[in-house]
Symmetry: C2
Subunit: 188 residues, 2 copies
DNA sequence: GTCTATAGGGCGATAGAC
DNA sequence: GTCTATCGCCCTATAGAC
């Protein structure tokens, strides 16, 4: 065994999730998180740019599922088919990697705090921009590329919220289909 | 003349816009803004909940144009027609009330700073939620209500960005039409 | 790892308007 | 007298600098 306990990040993230759930995000100090993880405040900030980021460690992986699917999608797919596939890939990875209980606990914390909602929104907006970039690289011009990417992200968000709150055990994939079908309905 | 110069908010907002443009958002302290406005740091925080909010004083008015249009739209309009009218109303008010030069200066500051982008995103997201609420009050069920509202807001954002950057002097209304037409195209 | 500046909240004092 | 805008001072946590 080394000089330090292993998996400092994992411990910090677990401690943060617990403390935020127990006492709320604002009521929890970085010092308390670090203490529960057996580390110092300074170490926390070496792993995360700011206090909020401890709840977004999974974002790069999530983003890669989204954007990577667009980048490597078969050429013959339409922009809509591509963003649907991307949302479903990201959703499927989320379902199996973390699961609904973790997602629920995390989301409860985020929706309760505007600072965290802001961070969540910018992460999702940046993923949508990444998808739009990838669509343009496929030859889709703007505004189509941006609107298709925004459409896919909006459908994901609607589906994700339903996935967390609905009693019925529908999959994220089904809920994404539903949200996209809704757009066709709205457009008449 | 009273004890204080009038229009403290206006002075703070003007000073902030100038200083942010001159030295950047992060490089400017609240104390500097207050000083240029002839006030103290403490007074700044009485008017704005945090440093970022000084750039978002116009948001309630902007929001009212958006959501109010949905609330008072003729019953016979479809959800898509309603959100288009809302985006156009908000755009028209923005065009004449503040103008493109102000919008450009403000947007330059915002896009240069992630904290400010986050704040912008949550403001727009909350307006979209307000539109969705208003659509549900008209009898539009979810997920249609949410997706229609998100569609309208996405179209507004795309149009707004083009309005600021394009050389051609197209109106926001025209650009919103274009963005929404693009969705129809993407859906095939 | 220590040191420090800034954001931002709490609370009370002050100076006007009414 | 009340109400409201401003200021002053003290405080803590975040987050960046050294």
């Amino acid at each position: 065994m080394g000089r330090w306990e292993p998996n400092a990040q994992g411990r910090l993230e677990k401690a943060a999730l617990e403390l935020f759930s127990e006492h709320g995000y604002e009521q929890t100090t970085v010092a308390e998180i670090a203490e529960r993880a057996g580390l110092t405040e300074r170490t926390f900030f070496r792993h995360y740019a700011d206090k909020r980021e401890v709840l977004f460690a999974g974002t790069p992986h999530f983003r890669e599922n989204f954007v990577g699917t667009v980048v490597s999608a078969p050429e013959l797919l339409t922009p809509l088919q591509v963003v649907r596939a991307a949302a479903e890939a990201a959703g499927a990875a989320l379902e199996e990697f973390r699961g609904r209980d973790f997602a629920r606990a995390r989301q409860r914390i985020i929706v309760a705090n505007p600072e965290l909602r802001e961070r969540e929104l910018i992460k999702l907006a940046d993923i949508a921009m990444g998808m739009a970039d990838a669509l343009r690289a496929r030859g889709v011009d703007d505004p189509d590329a941006t609107m298709a990417a925004e459409l896919g992200m909006a459908a994901f968000r609607v589906a994700f919220e339903r996935w967390l709150t609905d009693a019925a055990e529908r999959t994220l994939s089904e809920l994404i289909e539903e949200a996209l079908a809704s757009v066709s309905a709205v457009l008449g």
